[in-house]
């Protein structure tokens, strides 16, 4: 086996065998799932207790608009309540209206601070009362207006956006799914770039502080050592990603087993109907709501170009990793035991990564904007930003240009980092300055 091969093997095996690798691989998706489920659960639960509010001083027209149709607030028109005895009567607060109907500033006394949501709810209700009074003054019947609104809502307009290319074939546009995939994979690349970049940096620091670097470079070239470490850790990252993908698909399949059999049957019937050209959901067939949802989800998932997305993801993951990890390795080689030194030197490297993420998150809804275009071409940000555009149709020339530049970029950073690394790894004592590193990088060997 070649020497680089030996180094790759060691880096890979020692990390994959480590307990933290297994833990992070299998626990992280489960933790994320728990996090999502947990936060949804608590969001649903956190609806505060219903507040009982006494209302006095009604000028007449408000009463009908403050109905007890909310879980948040229960209004009681209790004429006996006052701003001193409301607590004793079991109310959480007392809302004092004005007899003067032009004055729209009201006082609300309460035992505890009301949540902003409750306050807003009450304000909206009061506004609505004033609006209704205006309408009635102009002769519009509220009941009629309500029934019109209801009718419109029950039969809402739907836009079906499809892409049509020159050959006339059409593809469904699913902006929300594109958004989700783009943002999700962008974040994933952003996070993994930091995790594995830092792993490379720590690995180099370990070799330097353990003083084994010089022992090793008397057997192999420093560049081989650096390359072996980068490739080995990259393989660890790839293994972890593949395990995650398998795990996610496994969980999705397992989740399907929990769907009741007759629902699945209906889903299949819907699929058959679609194949035979009938409009799903229309016609005489009455599918349950759940079956319709599952069918909808399945056909959406089927319309996504998974192969393209996953292969681009792997390419940009590896490209971004290779681009930045060699820079992280160079930083690791010039610092000594003190991790604080790492912080200041890492900043210029982490900045473009963070910058890429900011561009992605602020422009994700406009994947064709100039900012997204440039950021997805330039290798400093392209791994993160291009993933945000990938689900929407990116022209092939842009994709090719971006990929070529990324490959050229990581060849350049690896070459540059190799020269800094070669000198840095054997320097003990003081931290190298940017000026020195620049000199090491560009002097003739």
């Amino acid at each position: 086996m070649s020497k680089v091969g030996l180094i790759i093997k060691r880096e890979y095996v020692t990390r994959v065998r480590n307990k933290t690798f297994l833990l992070s691989t299998f626990l992280l998706p489960i933790m994320m799932l728990l996090f999502v489920v947990g936060s949804a659960f608590f969001a649903a639960k956190s609806g505060e207790k219903q507040k009982k509010i006494a209302v006095i001083n009604d000028p007449g027209f408000i009463r009908n608009n403050l109905k007890a149709d909310s879980a948040k607030v229960l209004f009681s028109f209790d004429a006996t309540a006052t701003d001193t005895n409301f607590a004793g009567k079991g109310y959480d607060g007392i809302l004092i209206l004005n007899k003067d109907s032009a004055n729209r500033t009201f006082l609300l006394y309460s035992k505890k601070t009301l949540s902003s949501a409750s306050k807003e709810y009450i304000e909206n209700k009061l506004d609505k009362a004033f609006e209704n009074r205006q309408l009635e003054n102009r002769g519009i019947k509220i009941a009629q207006l309500d029934s019109v609104t209801k009718e419109t809502k029950s039969n809402a307009s739907v836009i079906k956006n499809e892409l049509k290319d020159s050959k006339g074939s059409t593809t469904k546009v699913n902006a929300a799914v594109n958004y989700g995939i783009g943002f999700g994979s962008g974040i994933l690349i952003y996070i993994t770039m930091f995790i594995f970049g830092a792993m490379v940096m720590r690995g180099v620091m370990e070799e330097k502080t353990n003083r084994i670097a010089e022992v090793i470079v008397s057997s192999v070239k420093p560049f081989q050592l650096m390359l072996g470490k980068i490739i080995g850790i990259g393989a660890v990252g790839l293994t972890q990603l593949l395990l995650w993908i398998i795990l996610i698909f496994g969980l999705l399949t397992a989740a399907q087993l929990f769907i009741p059999g007759d629902t699945m049957k209906q889903v299949q019937e819907l699929q058959q109907m679609q194949q035979s050209g009938a409009i799903p959901g229309g016609g005489g067939f009455a599918a349950s709501e759940a079956a319709k949802n599952i069918f909808e989800m399945q056909s959406t998932l089927a319309s996504i170009p998974w192969f393209k997305i996953i292969s681009c993801f792997i390419f940009y993951f590896l490209g971004g990793y290779l681009f930045y990890s060699s820079l992280f390795a160079a930083i690791g080689s010039v610092i000594n035991e003190d991790p604080q030194e790492a912080q200041s030197l890492m900043l210029p490297i982490t900045m473009p990564i963070i910058f890429g993420f900011i561009i992605l998150s602020s422009n994700i809804s406009t994947p064709d904007s100039p900012a997204m275009f440039w950021a997805s071409i330039i290798p400093f940000t392209s791994p993160i930003v291009m993933m945000g555009r990938i689900a929407s149709d990116v022209p092939w020339w842009q994709l090719t240009l971006s990929m070529t530049l990324l490959i050229a970029g990581f060849l350049f950073t690896t070459w540059l980092a190799g020269k800094i690394y070669r000198t840095g790894i054997l320097m003990y004592g003081k931290k190298a300055t940017w000026k020195e590193m620049f000199k090491w990088a560009f002097r003739k060997s």
């Binding site: 030996l6 370990e206 003083r211 084994i212 008397s218 000199k439």
Partner: protein
């Protein structure tokens, strides 16, 4: 035959002439001492010999051919002064890994590791991690990994630092054994008593230049001052003579410096003539320590930075 020949090696760094035109040869089977004060350029020199640095100019001949850093490293075992091991790695795996990096096959490497582990009574360590070892133990492991692949040239930079006398002797015996079996050893240190005990040839470098080169005996003879130690009860009235100068006088012993042209026998005859009975008579050669201090002691303790253009 010379295992290693250095011809006019130069290596300049931004602020220092680390190695400035050094040449010497090392014959096969020698234990060679590379001496010099801190910052003299020893480590830079060794890094060039091990292929870590390329010389700016000059030539290294290894085993009769121009040194090839890629393929010749298998013939070299280097234990640097800044040395260490992977702390989290098991000892057996670590030794195997380092041996394989030197180019040994897995099977061959395992056999050799077993041999060495038995010799150093380290068999039970195989599955331990380096972080569980004491400093002395990891030094022994480091030594084993350095010499495991039977290198023709073994370079040891301060090999005894951190070792207790028992383990230091163990390593010392191994160094002799390796030299007898045909390995050549470069031994770099500033502990002169160890050099005197172990090395047969020394080179002293200072400020990047070679200032001394020869066998230990040659060097000592070169720096001898005609001092003789005479074991005899000598009375003060016997000491007024032109043939020697008294350096030190105690009731039982006398240290004298002979005048020019005076031989040992003249001195002995002088004392016999005075009726003094002599128990011992021995030439006093300077220790390497004395020579070292004499040669480099007047240079500043730390090397100053200098401008290189």
């Amino acid at each position: 035959m010379n295992v290693l020949e250095l011809h006019n090696l130069k290596k300049y760094f931004a602020t220092q002439k680390a190695v400035d035109d050094i040449s010497f040869d090392i014959a096969e089977g020698n234990i060679f001492g590379l001496l010099g004060p801190n910052g003299a350029g020893k480590t830079t020199l060794l890094r060039m010999i091990t292929g870590i640095f390329y010389p700016d100019s000059g030539e290294i001949i290894f085993n009769g051919k121009k040194f090839d850093p890629v393929n010749d490293t298998v013939g070299i075992g280097y234990m640097p002064e800044e040395r260490g091991l992977y702390k989290k790695m098991k000892i057996g795996e670590q030794a195997l890994y380092l041996a394989q990096l030197k180019g040994l096959g897995k099977k061959e490497a395992l056999e050799k590791i077993k041999d060495w582990f038995i010799r150093f009574e380290m068999q039970s360590w195989w599955n331990k991690k380096v972080e569980d070892l004491s400093k002395g133990m990891s030094q022994k492991l480091q030594f084993v990994t350095t010499v495991l692949h039977n290198p023709k040239l073994i370079i040891l930079d301060e090999p005894f630092s951190g070792l207790d006398p028992v383990n230091a002797n163990l390593i010392k015996d191994e160094i002799f054994r390796l030299a007898q079996n045909g390995s050549t050893i470069i031994f770099s240190t500033h502990r002169m008593e160890q050099v005197e005990e172990i090395c047969n040839h020394i080179v002293l470098v200072n400020k990047g230049k070679k200032i001394l080169d020869g066998t230990v005996k040659q060097v000592k003879n070169e720096f001898k001052e005609n001092l003789y130690r005479i074991g005899a009860a000598v009375l003060p009235e016997h000491l007024s003579t032109h043939i020697f100068e008294v350096v030190k006088h105690s009731p039982e012993e006398l240290l004298v410096k002979l005048s020019n042209g005076v031989s040992n026998n003249d001195v002995l005859q002088y004392f016999i003539g005075k009726g003094v009975s002599i128990n011992s008579f021995k030439e006093e050669l300077p220790s390497l320590n004395d020579i070292f201090i004499r040669l480099v002691g007047d240079t500043p303790t730390t090397r100053q930075f200098q401008a290189i253009n």
